[in-house]
Symmetry: C2
DNA sequence: GGTACTCCTATAACGGCGCTATAGGAGGCC
DNA sequence: GGCCTCCTATAGCGCCGTTATAGGAGTACC
């Protein structure tokens, strides 16, 4: 069946264009934040004209959605690249640090993910990322060491780590400030029980 | 000395213009968020032309700074309007709830205060607001019931309440969700000691 | 081989934005 | 009267996101 191959060849060319656009968008975002990401500058970088961008992504908001999806995938990779501790509580503590680490390493990306100037519904990748955290919390519950309900504990933990990361990125204190540890341990102490065996 | 009076009369007219501009900006912000706040629309509302705005405020960023200052003053009023509990730990818990309350009541304002699309240095009113929280925490330390250092406890507490408020505003969960209480009590338990007398 | 048909991309423009160069009116000071 | 300073308006620049229009390239059928 050569037809699908040819189709794929065409789609491949189109997909390459899409990838070039997304790559240029990512570069502009990393360089100048959301404000520095203009369609016109992006077109110049990707060697593409505006209608091409709009043909592939619809509008700027949808393009940013795709970019945000890529960012969440990268965030997930921060958790899967290295093996997390076996103990579920330790794994949650470890996840807190990886999350903060990602935010500090990619501040412009993090801001786009959570503080879009034009707020949007969460993208699928965002929900998947949230679900990953929920599973980590559920593992603690499965071990009989989670105090509140899984859903509530997940929401509380995420809001705490998000608050820390936001203010770290805003430059309000240094990444090794004791406040970071204070928030992390406060949440772990509140949500989980120590091993009593 | 009639001269000062006349000067004040003139300045009064000018100050009225400033107030009209800020009022129109606040109205537009409340209506359409930061994205809906354009100088041109603002000029139409305030019955003023663009150069007048730039004469009084410099540029849009500085105008928003003044608006943010007014928002922080309003936030402070949320704490001073009602009397806070006498017990310093209870007062901090009470402050947590007032803070979240303000964010939910003025989501567009809160977003402007902490999530400007073009990030800025904290305004004087923002620093004053932070200082107010620090004093609340210091009162706990003065009562011998604060575990960490005042500065660290303040930063940790603020980041926690900011995280909760941000995600509440983003619509991620309902305001009466148990997660809000979980974060609040986690921080209070971590930062303070119970009365042991 | 010719011819419709579908994808993809480019030219050129529209309306709106933040901002400003320039200038003029209104009152205080001599 | 003339001068000077403060405040405001006219008109325009350069940028933005977006799109109406149209043309080129590969596919399918005759």
């Amino acid at each position: 069946m050569p037809a699908p191959a040819l189709l794929r060849a065409r789609d491949g060319g189109s997909a390459a264009t899409r990838r070039a656009i997304l790559a240029a968008a990512e570069a502009l975002l990393a360089q100048g934040g959301e404000a520095g990401l203009s369609i016109r500058e992006l077109c110049a970088r990707a060697r593409v004209t505006a209608p091409t961008v709009y043909h592939h992504f619809g509008d700027k908001g949808a393009l940013l959605d795709r970019l945000v999806d890529a960012c969440f995938a990268e965030l997930d990779r921060a958790f899967t690249r290295r093996r997390s501790p076996a103990d579920p509580v330790e794994a949650l503590r470890w996840g807190f640090d990886r999350y903060v680490e990602y935010g500090l390493a990619h501040p412009s990306h993090y801001r786009l993910m959570f503080q879009r100037s034009m707020p949007r519904r969460p993208t699928p990748a965002a929900l998947a990322s949230y679900d990953r955290l929920r599973r980590r919390v559920a593992a603690i519950a499965a071990a009989g060491r989670l105090v509140p309900a899984v859903e509530d504990a997940t929401a509380a933990f995420w809001s705490a780590v998000h608050g820390v990361t936001s203010l770290l990125i805003a430059g309000f204190w240094k990444s090794d400030a004791p406040a970071v540890t204070l928030v992390r341990e406060a949440m772990l102490n509140q949500l989980t029980t120590q091993l009593t065996s």
